[in-house]
């Protein structure tokens, strides 16, 4: 029983770090732009597809059979590509909506989600494709004492945790982060100090979406790459940020990981509840502490 619990806990932790990285990106974007990015799930999916395309298709397109851009380069390239795509969305679509109610930005990104999902369903079909580019170094399993755990998943957990810590450090402890937080508090004042706030906004959106892309690359070798892989994920992420309170970076990370763990452990006790347990927890949090566990606003 304990072994089973630990095993599901590890798998849950794996999901949890993805939740953490996703809600972190969402929180960073919300903090500065006051935009809830519905497309975050679709950009996660895009990240997985970019990794797949880099590995399988780029070689074909340029007529170089046997040419692959593997996992390690993809780990760097994908967040840049997805983040760049995010910046285009911000620059050309979202920017026009800042002076209106934030629900319009939510609806716009919802539209972007539909377009992205629809495009990928048409090009790659709705069923999943396995990612063939898992690096040799991360194949196989490690013995954790209580279970044999896939090396890659362990890597994904550690890597994501490090990324979350770095992001936290940058935002809470460095000058760049201070500017960002200042921009959240009072964009007009930051502008008056000569900071190019619109550029900062674009870069922030790119950064947040880049994190979604990074989660996508890390997920690609674990789950199969499919156009709808982000569709239900985004709603879980929403519940995570409602529980954690979107104001706080640490809150997003901690609640993401905790909820992934809880979800995994639920599988042991009552499997059918595993995909709704997060939503029920959200209900409890709303009843007990409506502003979220780490939330600041009422």
């Amino acid at each position: 029983m304990l072994k089973l619990l630990l095993a599901q806990g590890m798998l849950g932790l794996n999901n949890g770090v993805f939740y953490a990285m996703m809600s972190l990106g969402l929180a960073v974007i919300f903090g500065l732009l006051n935009v809830v990015n519905f497309a975050h799930g679709a950009l996660y999916m895009l990240g997985a597809f970019v990794a797949l395309i880099l590995y399988t298709y780029v070689g074909l397109w340029f007529g170089l059979s046997g040419f692959h851009i593997g996992f390690w380069p993809a780990l760097i390239l994908t967040p840049i590509i997805v983040g760049g795509f995010g910046m285009l969305i911000e620059r050309f679509l979202l920017r026009w909506l800042y002076k209106f109610d934030p629900i319009y930005s939510l609806l716009l990104t919802f539209g972007v989600t539909l377009v992205l999902q629809g495009l990928f369903v048409n090009i790659f079909s709705a069923s999943g494709t396995p990612y063939p580019g898992m690096p040799d170094a991360l194949k196989g399993v490690v013995n954790l004492g209580f279970m044999m755990f896939p090396k890659f998943r362990l890597f994904a957990i550690v890597f994501s945790l490090i990324v979350c810590l770095i992001v936290w450090y940058v935002i809470e402890r460095t000058k760049v982060g201070a500017l960002l937080r200042a921009g959240t508090e009072n964009p007009e004042l930051v502008k008056a100090f000569g900071v190019n706030v619109p550029l900062m906004v674009t870069l922030t959106f790119g950064f947040g979406t880049g994190l979604a892309g990074l989660a996508g690359v890390l997920a690609a070798p674990i789950y199969s790459v499919s156009p709808l892989m982000g569709a239900d994920l985004i709603i879980i992420i929403f519940a995570v940020v409602v529980i954690g309170g979107m104001g706080s970076i640490m809150g997003a990370v901690v609640s993401g990981i905790a909820l992934g763990l809880i979800e995994g452990v639920t599988k042991v006790f009552y499997a059918p509840a595993a995909n709704t347990v997060i939503f029920f927890l959200m209900v409890i949090v709303l009843l007990v502490r409506p502003s979220g566990l780490f939330g600041r606003e009422g």
Binding site: D101, P102, P187, V242
Partner: protein, 335 residues
Amino acid sequence: MTKPASSHQTLDQAGEFAESVPHEKLARSRAAQAVLWVLLIAAVLFAPAVLYPVFVMQLLCFALFACAFNLLIGFTGLLSFGHAAFFGGAAYICGHVVKVWGLPPLLGILGGGVFAAALGYVVGSLAIRRQGIYFAMITLALAQIVYFLALQLPFTGGENGLQGIPRGTLFGLDLNSPLPMYYFVAAIFLAGFLIIYRTIHSPFGQVLQAIRENEPRARSLGYNVDRFKLIAFVLSASLAGVAGSTKAIVFQFASLTDAHWQMSGEVILMTLIGGMGTIFGPVVGSVVIITLQHYLADIGSWVQVVIGAIFIVSVLLFRRGIVGELARMLKISSV
């Protein structure tokens, strides 16, 4: 990049809610509205003579759904991203009542409506604990519970949905023949539409609009804002449930699609494209979207891309929607 546009700024830029209504505009608006009512009723009565009745019935169900949704977004300023739970959930309840319990369809629809009202009470009381964008996320997450229940509960038929719901009879009329069925649906639609119209123009509806315009002010005037929001939510949910139940009877089928969040998105789009906060907008919007889906069915999954693109374009350029834009051009009130 402005900080949280608090509720009083909310929809101002899109609709012209706050504007005072001069006298001649009022007269013109009354005339326009009378014309629209006549047109709507005539269209509902005579549509099956020109169009395929099942198609029109589908239109009417979605139009009622969108009108119910509009009561929240357009007249209370609450964006529910979980209305599919009421629409689709009620369809299952109605189907079960009619198919398994063997009760007549009218009772099935009533049952669906009552279920949706109860569900609306639960979801509403949780969601109004947070405001603005959080409200949308909470409703979305709660609706996902309903979706998973619809997928997993034993009586719902899982992926297949609830099939073979009998249409039955209404006051001795056999609903399997197209025209009685059609006028049954038409009567439900018109009744629902009238309820919404009366609600909006009642003192209660005025308070809702006051909340939409400026929630803190409405509160300071002594209104129990949360209670008004909750009542509006329950009303909207139950009418959405009636619409979903009716659709289940028409198509003899309750499906997961109707409970999925994408359906919540579609009803938002219908309302947005027709005109949020207008009386007739959601009807126009649902006609546009359903017709579009109908004719684009051939291109398969590209429909989703088209729908998404319409979403983007209407959010960027036509936030008033078709009816809202027309009303502005003709200088009449769209409420």
